[in-house]
Symmetry: C5
Subunit: 256 residues, 5 copies
């Protein structure tokens, strides 16, 4: 649930209480959001993990250059179960994000705090933000290479869990999941799609080696969040190759 | 009262003693200013809160990029009741202000110091400072989206109180106040308007969910500061949806 | 005596011993210089205050962007009586100088060390350094506004003494001295003028509310430093509106 | 084994387990990689040294400007036997890498941790990355000078081992090895070549004063890693002028 | 002996042992070099001082912007007798070097470590490095002014010894030596000249107030280092106006 900082409280996250209630009722494994939200929203469900995103940017300025806005120490003190840091590969701010990621990882080591690394290929150009969607369609091998690069980089720098984008089909995603040194990989949801399609993606991804999903808008925009989360678990359980599929919800409105 | 650093001691703040006297007499809830002023101006009214702005810039250079000029620790030692940090969304300096805001918030957490976040959409362009006033008039939905974005960002990053701009009418401002996770939202005053209009704005804002106002020039430029503050309280009390409306005075001359 | 770092040991400061001897003999209140000089030059006059300038730049590169070259802690340990920090309003380096000034002020607070803030409107342009002398002549109201802005900023950020430029006449300088929250304001000397004119400026300034002067070249270039300082005191004593006029000597050759 | 962070898990390092198994079986002296990999990959061979690369960049953005992503303290705590830092001479980021190298070296001194410095002439130009291969062919004397410069710089800054590129023949490489103040110099492998050629290069290099090799792709892409490593040791042992030739494997896929 | 980091191990410093042996035998007062060299080269002559240069750059990138690569604390721990920091006046990196110099000086104060400041007028232009040699020939008064500026700046910032360039004749150099507040000034050697000329320069410089010389290439490139150093001492002793002339050798190959 950390999208609202990034592009504003649109996309179903205006009413956070409704979303959080649904997430708890749907028994998601964990919620990912910024420290302010997760400290304030009353969550009386100890089984729901809480992960603090300690990096941020907005769509309004230098969107692909995430800054350090939190700390592992503060997250531990506030009672979080893990922290997340985001790195955009190929961005002009990549060197700075590498430095930040290293710093967060070392602090995680000191506090024995699990670290989720969010890694996307993304950069700013004179024409706006480049998410490599054209590349995904026109040169899927090169797009696959970008995702693999990001996943391996995250594993190399000490991630405990990695979130990345889905390639679009299980055959190619196997090649992404294969390069993480057994670090669990979760797939992002992206723009909302019909529920059946989202369930199919989740099912395919876990069959290809993903450990689970980390969805945002797919959840927030659902009219029946608990039901969707149950169906999501069911869809993943059927085909998961990992021990137990994970459903993590990004409590941030808008796009990451 | 922190505008004088920003654009000089114009706009009624040349004679600070008169303004402070009026603020105390008019029973404002708190004064917001820079550490130098609030440490020097003799205030023998314990009920008047004092909030130190720890970020600054001037209209003379990189106006929309606020720098860290104070610290929470120093503010605590100097006897302040809270600190404020300012972030301009969409500014080229936004990433740096995100970093600073995160740092101030963590220090506030350590010292249990309340944090007021001032959030405006504002950037510098080759043509000067862009305050999105044209957008406000020509595309109010997009302007509303900017204000909501700023308010949610402040809440996400751990604000205890948020100051932002007024949309212009209570119907739209409801949509701003709704996205703060119950963090109190105060509205800024902007350029001076006739007193009746200022009272109407305050009244409308609190009816729409604002917790109160954080006015500067509306107060400093008044010939009868205590009277204006009393009438302001009265206007807000009539229609406030919150527990108790707040009147906070920005003791900084000029524009923020 | 901190000009030699800035533009070289010209303007009467080649022979520092002569100048220091004259300053001591003329009973100046304090000397302002860099740490290296003031630590080395033997001064056996306990009544002469020593103020360490902890910020520096040279005329050879980024002249209007002062860097932090000292620290309050080191100045205290070296036995100084105060520190000085310089900020050029409107310079491209202004945000960084705001940050530095805030840092120095907080350290002064910790060590209970008096802080002199030197504030000038000054920036670099493609045509060289802009000191706003044309503005002073052609639009004195706007120049006045710049000086007031700088003085109030310094007071807002916690200065104990402020050094700024003279407006040129006592009527306008009153409006500068009025905005400092009673923080003492000293005027700079600028390029050398005939002694009578310098004495008149000092006399006018204190009659307008300045607490005294902080002269450099007017002193160093004098053939009779002790005599000039005595005449300076006399000229200020006659018309001073403050408790006791202050004569402080900038022991830095060249321009600040 | 630190190339995967840099250009992705291609070049034989997709299946890290196979490579690590081969390295252990082939009795390499040490493995060089990023902290994440080396902490995760189970290595039950105490005689295989592990060296953590604490600097990183990727081929996707500012490739020749390595950032600090780890620390000596964290590497010591994680049980590594040494750390590595990479500096690209002539890169626009060279000054920053000099600063980082100095910082890492001082931390190594405190923890008595051996420091491997990787030094290549490399920079980014508008046409892409300049590795000076044209220079190597067209002006070998100047290329030699660049390598010598890098090796001496690493020795001057306190390297305990230096990795650099091979000149191409033993006569010229003698002039590289001669300038390291007896700090052991290892040669990099570069793009994969036929095994016989790689063995010849290793043999020539140690005959010219190199202490050994630090190969990546030559190892990862081999079908018979243990065999290749044994043949490599044998080839070096025959002609080595140092005490004992060293075979170190870079466990990073792609190009450094 | 710190030139090899800067432009490579050319100019007589390939074989450091020969140079060090000659320096010891010739009874130089001290050697200046980088920490790596001076820690490794075995020197069993306690009377030879060792000075660690804690700033560095190379001729390959941003040559005139020296970075901090060492620390005073580390130099003290490694047994050095002093540290050196280099500042290039007029360089675009001058503000950063001022900041670094201030930092090194304060650390020297804490550890009571002597500080040698190397100060040259030097900057990068689109046409390459500007050493002001044309200015020296065509406008010697302005060149003199630059040298005086640098020497006074070093003294202002707390240097214990200053190294700068020679003006070319004793008459003008007197004006350089005169502005250092009695801080000893050493002259640099520059490109190698015939021995008789180097001895004349040294003799002239000390007669003009220099405390001695800090030569690099004049020493390294000599076929008879001990003999040259003895003749150098002799030439200086004859005309020195200081207590005892100093011969310091820069153990860095190439140009500073």
């Amino acid at each position: 649930m950390d999208d609202t900082l990034i592009s504003g409280p649109e996309c179903g996250l205006e009413n956070v209480d409704r979303v959080v209630h649904g997430i708890v009722k749907g028994k998601a494994d964990a919620m990912l959001g910024f420290q302010g939200l997760l400290s304030r929203v009353g969550i009386d469900e100890p089984r729901l993990g809480r992960i603090a995103n300690v990096t941020a940017s907005t769509t309004l300025s230098h969107y692909t250059h995430k800054q350090l806005v939190g700390s592992v120490e503060a997250s531990v003190k506030a009672g979080f179960d893990g922290v997340a840091a985001h790195i955009n590969l190929s961005s002009d701010g990549e060197p700075d994000m590498l430095r930040i990621l290293g710093q967060v990882q070392r602090e995680c080591e000191v506090y024995q705090m699990p670290l989720l690394v969010i890694t996307y290929p993304r950069k700013e150009t004179v024409n706006g933000v480049e998410n490599y969607l054209d590349l995904k369609n026109n040169n899927p091998a090169e797009y696959l290479r970008l995702l693999r690069h990001g996943v391996r980089l995250a594993a190399d720098l000490g991630a405990d869990v990695i979130k990345t984008q889905y390639t679009g089909d299980p055959e190619t995603f196997k090649k992404v999941a294969a390069v993480s040194y057994d670090v669990p990989v979760l797939i992002a949801g992206g723009p909302r799609v019909p529920e059946e399609q989202a369930l199919q993606v989740a099912s395919d991804a876990v069959s290809a080696g993903a450990r689970g999903v980390c969805f945002g808008r797919q959840v927030h925009l659902s009219d029946d969040i608990p039901g969707f989360l149950r169906r999501l678990r069911h869809a993943m359980a059927d085909r998961c190759v990992s021990r137990r599929p994970v459903a993590l919800v990004t409590a941030e409105s808008g796009r990451h």
